[in-house]
Amino acid sequence: MSRELLEKITTSIVDGDPDSTVDTTEQALAAGLAPMTILDEGLLPGMKIVGQKFSDGEYFLPNLIVAASGMKRAMARLEPELRARHEVVKAAGTVVIGTVQGDIHEIGKSLVATMLSANGFAVHDLGVDVPAEQFVEKVREVGAQIVGLSALLTTTMTVQRTVVDALKAAGLRPHVKVMVGGAPVSRQWADEIGADGFAEDAVGAVQLAARLVGQGA
């Protein structure tokens, strides 16, 4: 019975049916399943399959995002239960993410934020047009292990370097890994500005983040 419910949760994530994800999560809670079990054995395996199908070319961006949205809604339902049991979901890592100053492109950044969040990272999304100081402040405040910098324009990608330099100046650089992304951004650029990593797409970003916090991937 419980195994069946967990499988239903996984399937709802894989099929991209957020309403069903929430329903089955509630059924599982009502049936007395531990919230942590629902998370680890129902939701997360679904996200893993979705990520794999995306990497294999079978799934597309809408599949990823809708699955992540189901995950997020189910988590909103699980969190109070976890708190009530004094359980804490151990985040895979803490990430501060944003699109750099002068650039208002949101989609790529939000996609990465959504996927990181759906894969167990605690994500602080600062939005778009974010000044370097704001990245520095937030990294310090939440003790982030990773900062993600997005830039969609060749004119704003140079600001990624500004943020890396600001983190250095604030003495935070040894404690935080920097990952960069965006259409004009390349691995070569990442190396050039002293970032720690670059990923092609949102699934790649999750793998990269996992690697940067030492989880392997």
Binding site: F60, L61, P62, N63, E200, D201
Partner: protein
């Protein structure tokens, strides 16, 4: 609304058909087949036996046009109707009867052998964009006299999709029919659920060879669909003006439909062709020429006006390697064929005029075919209101990617290409080895062929097929056929 292409005014269609009828009376058609001349004479045509000229009055042709079916279905070998000839349905099969294969490694042409053909057949089974098989290459490892039936023999051991084929001799047609009967279980089943179409080619201008005419008559008598492949060569074997080339095509096909329907009224026949605009510099038959495409689209329009199912050789290239010329010519013809509503478009994978098949080109062409099929599905409103509800909900947020509306519609609204089409960033492309379309196609060929699953042809039927093909081979000095490549993936 479905986008369509019309290249002739209605008035011009009428004039072309009118002149087509007139050509059948003067100068008439030359028919090197006695049975056909008997049929025509019996129906009231004036037949000059010495010169083998038949002058066919319009009323006989009109009667044939009335008895010829407006549509028919081809069935898969598991009995499902999967290809519809008629109306504006559009389906694709590989170009047929190439004599060479483009080697995947050297990217140069070489004679095709059994293993090449079987690999091609497996690939076609696995390519979702390709609707039917064709006996697409001639195998050089068997005697030329059994070249036609050997391809069909091989194919029947591996395919589910219906097949477009043809005979090179009068007697081999019967062997090929025998094989089809063995697989489907007799003439009644074959008549009820056709699985194969035979191409029958008149010779330009206005001439029927004994062989092709006999094949056509035999097809009619046994309810095996025949496909007319009339091929005026504008400026060489037909007048150079495109409309006049279409007049010639019309007359040849009208005479074909007439002989065919006289052999058996109501048997299925297809208005098809492989014309070309003669190349005035090289003296060749360019299949990638816009004039060629226009003749094809024009005769398709004529065929539709006469109420017949249609076929054309389109989506080929004259290039010798899979290069930019190859891509542009193949895509151009493919898109036009879809817009013109050609029922069966033969040509995918074919290059160097109609000489060479390439597996890599076939998977690249499949992407053009996928796009062309999407194109003719047109643009629909999908929702009512079209956008207001959703756009008011999201306002100025660019969050459509996260909407279930997007998940619901994206795969229907957008054509999703395979990895043959590169749309990654420069960095991603470099990471994956900075590959060419040909190299990516080569990978996809390997993957698809490896995923092929054997068909459930009973062992007894396989033995019967082999016995039929072997008996034919022995007549032409080959005691044993080459071994059949394995049923599963690989080759």
């Amino acid at each position: 609304m479905r986008p369509t292409l019309r290249v002739l005014s209605d008035e011009l269609v009428d004039r072309i058909v009118g002149e087509g009828f007139e050509l059948l009376m003067d100068p008439g058609v030359r028919v090197h087949n006695d049975e056909a001349l008997d049929l025509l004479a019996g129906a009231g045509a004036t037949v000059d036996r010495a010169n083998r000229i038949a002058k066919i009055p319009e009323r006989i042709v009109r009667r044939a046009l009335q008895t010829a079916p407006r549509s028919f279905d081809l069935h898969s070998f598991d009995g499902q109707p999967v290809v519809h000839y008629g109306g504006d349905s559009v389906q694709f099969d590989p170009g047929s009867a190439a004599i060479t294969i483009l080697d995947s490694e050297t990217e140069r042409q070489r004679p095709a052998v059994t293993a090449d053909f079987v690999k091609l057949v497996k690939l076609v089974e696995m390519l979702p964009q390709i609707d039917a098989q064709s006996t697409s290459v001639i195998c050089a490892d068997v005697p030329p006299d059994i070249g036609d039936l050997y391809r069909l023999y091989l194919a029947l051991n591996y395919i589910r999709k219906p097949i477009i084929t043809g005979a090179f001799r009068k007697d081999t047609w019967w062997t090929m029919r025998e094989m089809l009967l063995a697989v489907v279980g007799g003439q009644a089943a074959l008549s009820a659920r056709p699985v194969a179409v035979f191409d029958c080619c008149p010779s330009p201008p206005l001439l029927w060879s004994d062989l092709t005419c006999q094949n056509m008559i035999d097809c009619a008598r046994h309810d095996i669909p025949a496909e007319l492949v009339s091929m005026p060569l504008a400026g060489a074997t037909s007048p150079v003006t495109l409309a006049a080339a279409v007049v010639q095509h019309t007359a040849e096909c009208l005479s074909g439909v007439t002989i065919h329907q006289l052999a058996k009224a109501g048997s299925p026949i297809v208005w098809g062709g492989s014309p070309a605009a003669f190349d005035m510099r090289e003296g060749t038959t360019p299949m990638g020429d816009v004039g060629t495409w226009m003749i094809d689209c024009a005769y398709t329009q004529v065929g539709k006006a006469l109420g017949l199912p249609t076929h054309a050789y389109l989506g080929m290239s004259d290039a010798k390697i899979v290069d930019a010329q190859c891509g542009l010519e193949s895509a151009g013809g493919t898109i036009l064929a879809a817009l013109a509503g050609v029922n069966m478009v033969s040509g995918a994978g074919m290059m160097d005029f109609e000489s060479c098949q390439s597996l890599e080109k076939l998977v690249i062409d499949a992407e053009a075919i996928g796009m062309a099929k999407r194109l003719i599905l047109g643009i629909e409103a999908r929702d009512e209101p079209i956008a207001l509800t959703l756009m008011r909900k999201l306002g100025h947020r660019a969050d459509y990617l996260a909407e279930t509306h997007t998940l619901k519609w994206f795969a229907k609204e957008l054509y999703l290409p395979s990895a043959v089409i590169d749309r990654g960033s420069l960095d991603a492309w470099q990471q994956k080895g900075a590959s060419s379309a040909f190299a990516r196609a080569r990978e996809r060929v390997k993957k698809l062929v490896a995923s092929y699953k054997p068909v459930a042809v009973p062992e007894g039927v396989r033995d019967e097929l082999r016995a039929i093909a072997t008996a034919a081979a022995r007549k032409f000095g080959m005691d044993e056929l080459p071994p059949l490549p394995e049923q599963g993936a690989g080759v």
